[in-house]
Symmetry: C2
Subunit: 382 residues, 2 copies
């Protein structure tokens, strides 16, 4: 369409090679593999952000998110940023300067939550455990009963450790104390049950690039009726305008009045990813992930390797495998990437050099793909 300059000296654009991403098998903690239909949706022609068609797309996404979160009473919406944007939206809207926030700390993302909450003026109190451990019902009750916070936060599926934290006792104790509960479901949504209503979560945020098998760029959220009331009753301005959930909710679901220009193509992609999930059936999808997780762990243990997290607290979609004595984990990861093109992640913080983080999600959660991965992984370890 446009004339191309003939001479590289004259036109620096010609120094850039055409976009040709290498083929990767995304077995890391996310981004995960994307369904071909989702790529097709990304490439559909955009309409305006106030176009009746786009308003419909946003509405469809909100509806399709409900079974994934496991909510019928809750409100679902999407923040125009990545999972961390959803975390900041949750913190910014439900914390006011001086609000006492109780955090169940046991990994990197509870630390990030803490950091964000402090920046938004919260008085953060933390219960501390080692990375990979989880909290019992008694510990949850005791901590909340003692601290009497206004807001409680925990990470449902902790990407940095591979541990799944049940929210049942946390939510019950928090509600007894009159507190709201924020649950980080970045790694669980779409891959393992979130059970928003049944658990009693008030505010949850996630991402698109893990359990939903969609590229990164949006953060789906859910809010309970109690959270919505809290938001409406809030009188101090939220410190962030971009993440002001009252304004976003109004644009997305009520008046459709302009707030920001939503990332149209990403919404197309998310709608398609959610349709692919709905066609499979969310419960069948969870079961498929559980099944592949079991196969994966069997294979890992058959190699003589150990899992970092006790069996009953593992995330079905994200496995932390202990690095065996004498193995240079960075070298293993580099060879996996360079040779078969497999991406996995290492540990960081206290788990740096100690674990591999291996995701088995979405299109990769099949028996064949698990066997393919185990075979390649075994080669690199020997």
């Amino acid at each position: 369409m446009t004339p191309i300059a003939q001479n590289k000296q004259e036109n620096p654009a010609l120094h850039f090679p055409a976009l040709q991403p290498p083929r990767r098998y995304l077995f890391g903690p996310g981004p995960s593999m994307v369904h071909p239909r989702v790529y097709e949706a990304l490439a559909k022609p955009i309409v305006g952000h106030l176009d009746p068609y786009f308003i419909q797309v946003m509405g469809d996404v909100q509806q399709l998110l409900k079974p994934a979160f496991g909510t019928s009473d809750g409100v679902t919406l999407v923040v125009s940023g990545t999972g961390s944007a959803g975390m900041e939206a949750a913190v910014a809207n439900f914390v006011e300067p001086g609000t006492k926030l109780a955090v169940f700390a046991n990994g990197y993302f509870s630390d990030r939550l803490t950091e964000m909450a402090r920046r938004h003026g919260a008085n953060v109190v933390r219960l501390e455990k080692l990375w990979g451990e989880t909290y019992t019902e008694d510990e949850a009750r005791e901590f909340i009963g003692r601290e009497k916070p206004k807001v409680v936060a925990y990470v449902h599926a902790e990407t940095s450790t591979g541990a799944l934290q049940s929210g049942q006792a946390i939510c019950a104790a928090a509600h007894d104390a009159g507190a709201l509960v924020i649950a980080d479901c970045v790694t669980s949504l779409g891959g393992v049950p979130v059970q928003f209503d049944q658990t009693g979560i008030d505010v949850s945020y996630s991402c698109t690039q893990k359990g939903l098998s969609c590229p990164p760029g949006l953060s789906p959220m859910a809010m309970s009726p109690r959270a919505l009331d809290w938001l409406r009753a809030r009188t101090s301005p939220v410190r962030s305008w971009y993440f002001d959930l009252k304004l976003i909710h109004d644009y997305a679901a009520v008046s459709h009045r302009y707030h920001h220009t939503a990332p149209i193509s990403m919404f197309y992609a998310l709608r398609e990813a959610l349709l692919v999930i709905a066609e499979e059936g969310i419960e069948k999808r969870w079961e498929r992930h559980r099944h592949c997780h079991k196969l994966f762990v069997q294979g890992i243990e058959a190699m003589g390797l150990r899992m970092h997290v006790p069996e009953e607290h593992r995330i079905a979609t994200l496995n932390t495998v202990c690095v065996p004595e004498g193995v240079d984990e960075a070298k293993v990861r580099k060879r996996l990437l360079d040779e078969p093109g497999i991406e996995i992640a290492g540990g960081f913080g206290p788990l740096a050099g100690k674990v591999f983080r291996i995701g088995v999600m979405g299109p990769l959660a099949t028996e064949d793909n698990v066997q393919f991965f185990l075979k390649e992984f075994k080669k690199m370890l020997s």
Copy 2:
């Protein structure tokens, strides 16, 4: 790939029609039409956000942004949110609680800037003009000399009014007063010259869906060496973690240490959009927009209509046309959308019902497309 349930009662997914966006000619203020190559880039398979290939893509984008901003000394980077996210990043990082911020107010986006800055604790002082007016050199000097602010903000191309504000005198006066300058270039980048270095801008943010002809979802930014020093010297924490430019810059351009999971597909798209621009040549592109703008205005005036902004202060890519007496502008817009599928926008705030906002950008900035638009527009007015 996945079995589809046979019965609609059993499977709600089957109630959702396939994604089939209507064909639109995006003659609004943005999003604008997207080049087919950009859609192809969006659909390329993703890699991880720490993959060497993605780090290279981010680096290419940073380099390709420099001629569009008109900077050689400045640092360019991309915030993982829309244009308003870039605005919030600029405000959050360069305003501390109590910072005196001087705003040249003359439209909706200077009001949004004001609102954000107040939420981030700034002491905002404003010079006020009507929507569509601009500031003279004397007014700029007098205001800054009198107020002695620490930070100055103005909107280069005001989407709500169609007026272009020169930054030359504002930047000179601000630097004399030891202040930094934030320029909103959301509507100008890629379509009209920003001249970042030559104007003396310190911090600028934009979007992808206007002059860059890419879908919405990212906010390109530029910072002067002075702004970078200011950022490094800042001791109070930025109130937003997601928009903390020190952390984003470190991930994007220095250590490549994980900050957030960047929207990979959107970066692919932006890289391609910038390559398309570089192949045409940024100056030729500006000239093409100027040329089509002149044709557009000639056609509008030949219909007996008036432009809202005086000739010397118009944005070449976004036209505000006065609604003629007796015309129901909402009806005109609705018919344009429903019949030929043309999107344009109305005015809002003080300009509600008074102007049409018509963008002639990117692939639509050709003589044929201008004539096509004028013909359809004329039909709807008669």
